[in-house]
């Protein structure tokens, strides 16, 4: 310990030293209203308004009654808040002969999205792992073909797939749609997993082989636990992608299996009767809610998953 008298003189010297400093010292001052700040925050504000305004109109309209909507003030908040349109959209809106609302489409979408997401991720992760670590003969050719698949427009393949599904006897069923979603998710997911596994240190894989682990043991015991962030990313991509899908849903299923998006379209675009804007808005928000919730819940994991490959060692 220093003698208190000495330490006092030392700190006094340090203080007097700091007092004699001339010119700029310490933290550089920043002005709040600099032109740089105005441009940055101004741009951000405009962009935010651009995206939020339609959402605002939707929410506000969905909470109004029809008489209030007819007044035409789409930006004004509801005078009398009513949840009637939401209930109607979920449980009573009519598509064709059915009048049980969007709820049927919601459950159809759940039954499509969950198996499609699980199967496509399961297959793609094994694909990616095999392509990254087990360099089999023709792996590059296989990978190239898969990637080319990602660049072919879906529309081109619809008719052949209809025929294939018909021949397999699963055209118009949920099984058929799940298979289609799994196949179309394959190129991008395989690429995602392959790159992630290729980014893991190769020596880890070698060490596991020396330890005697085989293809599946390495996959389940070593690779899978390390790949959780990328699984979350893949899950988000698939859930939002499949949930928002309209084309495959309308082409490959029968009306009783229509996913939520197709049913939403049928409600909103029905030509008979009065256009119930509030119900349409509520139905649209309900349909978009699932991907939105997935983002909010796992958004942080999503970013972490994308960045994780860079720092894991």
């Amino acid at each position: 310990m220093l003698d208190p008298a000495i330490s006092k003189t030392v700190s006094a010297a340090a203080r007097s030293g700091s007092q004699t400093l001339a010119g700029p010292s310490g933290r550089k001052p920043r002005r709040m209203l600099s032109s740089r700040n105005i441009i940055v925050y101004g741009t951000l504000f405009v962009a935010a308004v651009y995206y939020v305004l339609p959402l605002y109109v939707m929410v506000v309209t969905s909470l109004k009654g029809m008489p209030e909507i007819r007044l035409g003030n789409i930006f004004s908040p509801p005078v009398e808040i009513t949840f009637e349109p939401w209930v109607k959209a979920w449980a009573q809106a009519c598509t064709g002969l059915n009048c049980d609302g969007l709820s049927r489409g919601f459950w159809n979408s759940v039954r499509i999205t969950i198996p499609s997401t699980i199967i496509s991720i399961a297959v793609a992760s094994v694909n990616g792992y095999a392509l990254a670590n087990w360099r089999f003969k023709g792996a590059d050719v296989f990978f190239t073909i898969l990637i080319v698949g990602a660049f072919i427009p879906y529309q081109v393949m619809i008719y052949p797939i209809v025929i294939v599904l018909r021949e397999l006897g699963i055209y118009g069923t949920l099984t058929g749609l799940v298979i289609v979603h799994t196949i179309f998710g394959m190129p991008i997911l395989t690429l995602l997993f392959r790159n992630y596994f290729a980014g893991l240190p190769e020596e880890l894989f070698k060490a596991a082989r020396i330890d005697g682990a085989g293809f599946w043991a390495i996959y389940f015991k070593i690779m899978l636990p390390m790949a959780l962030p990328i699984f979350v990313v893949a899950m988000i991509l698939q859930i939002t992608g499949i949930w928002n899908d309209f084309l495959f849903g309308v082409v490959f299923t029968r009306p009783e299996y229509y996913p939520m998006t197709v049913q939403l379209n049928n409600i909103v675009n029905s030509v008979q009767g009065v256009k119930e804007y509030n119900v349409n808005m509520a139905a649209t928000i309900l349909t978009g809610a699932v991907p939105l919730i997935v983002y909010f819940v796992s958004g942080r994991l999503f970013v972490r998953g994308i960045a994780a490959g860079a720092v894991k060692g």
Binding site: K206, I210, D211
Partner: protein, 362 residues
């Protein structure tokens, strides 16, 4: 195949497409031997180790471990344990799980697993770390665990792939001693890949110096140091590196001598393997520590101090001798100012002579 060979490599070749990485390589490693594969990056030393481990399929040749032909065997069936440069510990498992993973895969009974893990932990003094995850360990501790993972496998042959290269200098020298101690107590065969000549010299029973997939010289460290077989080996081993003087052979008074820019160096005491024909173009290699400065030895050559590099224990002098620059290592307490004229003495019995054309030792 004799029985005291632990690892035997016969005519091994490896091609990646049209690139020959290893060319008809032969290597016999005795039981309990510590063999170091030394070379600069890209020389094929790690590739050779991966071939021995079974992580790379070879193009031609055979590999025997303990007298058994393992050329087509899986890595786990070869009786080897391997330690990697980047440790390669499974990040999601605790140290204990890392050590026992291989044994669990091999379905070793739990009691035996516990016994072996405890023994490895004791040898490497990592008992307090057993419950930790690799991320919570320092570099040196991680590498100890990685060595432990090879240890629990109870194997005949240990393979080390630059195990100390990721560590800082101080830890490296500590772990180097530990690896040597480990080898002395376990007496396993160890094959150790490194680019660090200090590691090679201190650890090895024999060093195999490699260049472009070919073993240049396979000998004990002393022989490699004192009698390098060619110019590459001579220049690769030793820091600061050997002085090379390019001149030609002459005969002075019936005895062979080396001449450079008019200065004659009698080659008395040099044990040549072949005749020293006058007129032959040669390279004389002399290590910096084999040159005497102002010590009154028989042969005296005039030189001037150009630069002095004091390094504490040693003092490295860069001198001008017969128009060439040579380095000389002397005791750290002897200091010379630049420009000082000095007199040098060469110990030709420790020098090396190479043919200028074939670069092979004469």
């Amino acid at each position: 195949m004799t029985d005291n060979n632990s690892v035997s490599i016969k005519d091994l070749s490896l091609n990646f497409g049209s690139v020959n990485v290893l060319q008809t390589l032969n290597l016999d490693i005795k039981d309990g031997e510590f063999l170091v594969l030394l070379g600069s990056s890209g020389c094929g030393k790690s590739t050779l180790l991966n071939c021995i481990a079974g992580l790379l399929d070879i193009s031609e040749g055979q590999i025997f471990i303990k007298g058994k032909n393992v050329t087509w065997e899986e890595p786990k069936d070869r009786g080897i344990g391997m330690v990697f440069q980047s440790y390669a510990l499974y990040p999601q498992m605790s140290v204990e799980k890392n050590l026992s993973f291989g044994l669990k895969v091999a379905k070793v009974p739990q009691a035996e697993i516990d016994k072996r893990v405890a023994r490895a932990a004791e040898i490497l003094q990592i008992q307090p770390l057993l419950k930790r995850k690799p991320a919570e360990l320092s570099g040196g501790q991680r590498q100890r665990v990685a060595i432990g993972r090879a240890l629990v496998r109870d194997v005949d042959v240990f393979l080390f792939d630059e195990p100390l290269s990721n560590l800082d200098a101080k830890l490296r020298s500590e772990l180097r001693v530990e690896i040597k101690r480990l080898h002395q107590s376990l007496k396993n065969t160890m094959i150790y890949v490194t680019h660090d000549q200090i590691e090679a010299m201190t650890l090895a029973d024999r060093i195999a110096i490699m260049k472009s997939g070919i073993i240049q010289q396979l000998d004990d460290p002393t022989t490699i140091y004192n009698a390098p077989r060619n110019l590459f080996v001579a220049g690769f081993i030793g820091s600061p590196s050997m002085n090379f003087l390019r001149g030609e052979l002459v005969e002075v008074g019936g005895k062979p001598a080396f001449v450079l820019n008019g200065v004659t160096f009698p080659l008395d005491g040099y044990g040549a393997g072949e005749s020293l024909t006058p007129g032959r173009k040669v390279v004389l290699g002399v290590r910096p520590e084999h040159i005497k400065v102002n010590e009154g030895t028989i042969d005296i050559y005039e030189a001037t101090v150009d630069i002095e590099e004091p390094m504490g224990a040693d003092n490295l002098l860069w001198l001008k001798l017969a128009g060439q620059t040579i380095s000389v290592r002397i005791n750290g307490s002897r200091r010379f100012r630049p420009g000082t004229p000095v007199k040098l003495g060469f110990d030709m019995s420790l020098a090396s002579l190479f043919d200028a054309g074939t670069e092979l030792r004469i």
